[in-house]
Amino acid sequence: MTSVLLLFAPVAAALLIPMLANRVRGIHTGWFVLAVPVLLFIYYLGFLPQVKDGGVHIGELSWIPSYGISLTSYIDGLSLLFSLLITGIGALVVLYSIFYLDKTKERLGNFYVYLLMFMTAMLGVVQSDNMIALYGFWELTSISSFLLIGYWYTRDRSRFGALKSMMITVFGGLMMLGGFVLLYLMGGTFSVRELISMAPELAEHSLFTWALILILLGAFTKSAQFPFYIWLPDAMEAPTPVSAYLHSATMVKAGLYLVARFTPIFAASEVWVWLVTSIGVLTLFWGSFFAVKQTDLKGILAFSTVSQLGLIMSMLGAAAAAFHVEGAAETMFKYAGFAAIFHLVNHAAFKGSLFMIAGIVDHETGTRDIRKLGGLMALMPVTFTIALIGSLSMAGLPPFGGFLSKELFLTGMLSLGELDLFAPASWGTVLLVAAWIASVFTFIYSFYFVFRTFTGKHKPDLLPKSAHEAPAGMLVSPAVLGLIVVAIFFVPNLVGDWIVKPAVAAVQPFMYGSPSDVDVHVAAWHGHITPELMMTIGIVIAGLALFSLLPKWQGLYRVFPEQLTLNKLYDSTMIFAESGMNRLSRSYMDGLIRSYLIYMFLGIVIIGLGSLIAKDALAVSFEGTAPIGPVEVGLLLVLVAATATTLVARKRLTAIISLGAVGYTVALLFVVFKAPDLALTQLVIETVSVALFLLAFYHLPKMSRHDEKRKFRIGNAIIAASVGLLMSLLAMSSVSQRALPSISEFYKETVYSEAGGGNIVNVILVDYRGFDTFFEIAVLSIAAIGIIAMIRLRLTRKGDGHEKQ
């Protein structure tokens, strides 16, 4: 219960903080916000001992119990790891943003409200056990990401990037919802835990593969996998703290979380293993290859994030592959799951710090264009040191955390080569080679990022500002992350035991009963030369060689035609959708009221007749109809005649008088049908109406048919006849069959005892349904005001006293 409510703590804080910030002026709003993630981080740290031993914490708050929808906070190894990332990195990002965003120039209130909203959404995603709640939080992350990317909404690129990320991730979210619904149809529950427990039965179901593909679409769009990665580079228009937080450390990892969370259900499917692994490696390769093309510092980091997400994705695929291997927990297949989670932690640390470095460089020099930068090492020594740590970790070099997870990743890829699951048997080898080449490019872009910025020739005349070291406060957050990167290298097994293994046990329950069963020991040096080490050495040599020759071959990227890129595809789809919809709606919205009325009448006829027939409600019987006497017959004949006269009348006076005749006949019919009140009212109203018509008649033009063509009239007649037919059938059917007793019995019984009145109709109007009557009076008043306003309108507009009345 508490843990569920704490999910909403950031949003609740967003309500309180503006008041505090208004009261204490002169202090950056960020300092108040900082307390939220810090306190939550400490709270979640408290779960570590319990979760380390395989325990879980469940908090539940019922939401829509009749549909089995609840807000559940389910904290196991996996969700705890993510919760710590969200709050921990969140705290560092808020701290960083205090120095990054100027409190006099920026709209801090908006920024922090969006950021806190995102924090709640993200915590909700990783802790929700109920799939519907998970979906709700998932979309909320898309929305808050949209708002944060578009934070500087006066820039075109910001708005474009925000819309693009929204379109793609929300599309994926909807697909994922479809997958969830299919799972519900198969398993009868929205709870992920319960679905996991019935995984073997689900795998037999015919809808299983569909659910799998739909859920993967959600994960791939969110985690920027190929071909959906195109939104992430454009999302770099967001303020840098946002890029560091959402677009590298947390939100884009939601897709990885989803894949990890559903691995126990879908691992049995070979499609899952194949798709997750292959798309992951493809994204890894693609992202690292195109990272070297970029000239914007954040662009390089965006593509590198895409690439690293692909790496983790492929490891999750390999972790699912372990399901198909006998005794995977003792063989080399055990490493993939560990590698995925371990690299996820490492990546959050080094990429977070690198983004902050890019922000610092931007802040202090005024540009992020790598062609203008260079030689900053001497001017910004601390920034350079942190950048070097992050980059070398990303390149996979010791003594940094990235080296260890890179080694584990290579082990995982090697294990895929051994797998005989894939259709072409050599597919595993293809993946291995692609992963190796991608690692070389990873090495190159890491060096490209750090050395092009900080070494080489300083070009002060190209920089908008004169470069100098950042203020100390801005350096704290990246420095903390840099320290973590180094620390992980020296105590990897401490991190492994406390954080990684519980998460691995949650991803691969088919292999491990509890976190302590995960038998993975991380070491930098295994005592002998391993194949992984050989591969790393190869990466370093190839990477160094290609990096030194970079100016010679970077021009190759220009060979790729711009027209064939995925971005172009997205742009043209958007343009087509917009103009196509415009043309479509213009084609039927022609501005004629008559056309709209025809749509309505046809709609009524089709829906009405359709449901009459579909529900088998069409019944015509003459039982129970009132005996028809000569009076009734006479009245009905008059009614028909009067109506027909209005139809054919050539003079307007005739039409008006016959309309009056219809009204009076209806009043007489009311008398016959024992409705005295109605008859009286109808008589009065009809008299006033006719008077009104005659008054207006004086001012209105002579009735002309405006050369209505025969075709036009026949069309109208057909529509009119079908509406009339429908109404006749409706009336007959409703008279002939009566499904429920009338509620009027209640009124009949209580009218005297409760309301103290004799005339039931009147009592209903003024007592039982008093509010109805009240609003009716309001409607009449509005009509009256409208009439007065319309008449006045003329006086004010023309102003020359054209009064004719």
Binding site: R586, G591, L592, I593, R594, A626, L639, V640, T643, A644, A655, I656, L659, V662, G663, V666, L669, F673, K674, A675, P676, D677, L678, Q682, V688, S689, L692, A696, H699, L700, P701, R705, H706, N716, I719, A720, A721, G724, L725, M727, S728, A731, M732, V735, R738, S742, S744, K748, G757, G758, N759, I760, V761, R769, V779, L780, A783, M790, L793, R794
Partner: protein
């Protein structure tokens, strides 16, 4: 009775779809008459006595449709009055009562 209702609706719809503004308004008037009779019919005609409590009478006509119709009559009067003034004003401003010409221009799309 049902046939009559259908006939009223048919005439109303035909008039509403025509091009002359006055005919459209007459059509709405007919439409409301048809609707009132429809509600009354749906309530059924059973019951020998009007819905007024009196000694010795136990079986009344269903009062609820009558209450609904009473409301509807008044509202339809308001609507008709509003339409009439609107038509009058439109004619004054635009000098036509041809519905085909009374369409928005492209600026108001």
């Amino acid at each position: 009775m049902s046939v009559i209702i259908g006939f009223l609706f048919m005439a109303a719809v035909y008039l509403i779809l025509s091009r002359s503004l006055l005919r459209v308004i007459i059509g709405t008037g007919l439409l409301s008459h048809g609707a009132h009779l429809l509600i009354l019919t749906m309530g059924g005609f059973a019951g020998p006595a009007p819905p007024v409590v009196a000694d010795g009478v136990t079986d009344y006509v269903d009062p609820l449709p009558q209450a609904l119709i009473l409301t509807a009559i008044v509202i339809s009067f308001g609507v008709t009055a509003f339409f009439l003034v609107m038509a009058y004003r439109a004619y004054q401003e635009l000098e036509t009562d041809n519905m085909t010409l009374l369409k928005g221009n492209d600026e108001h799309d």
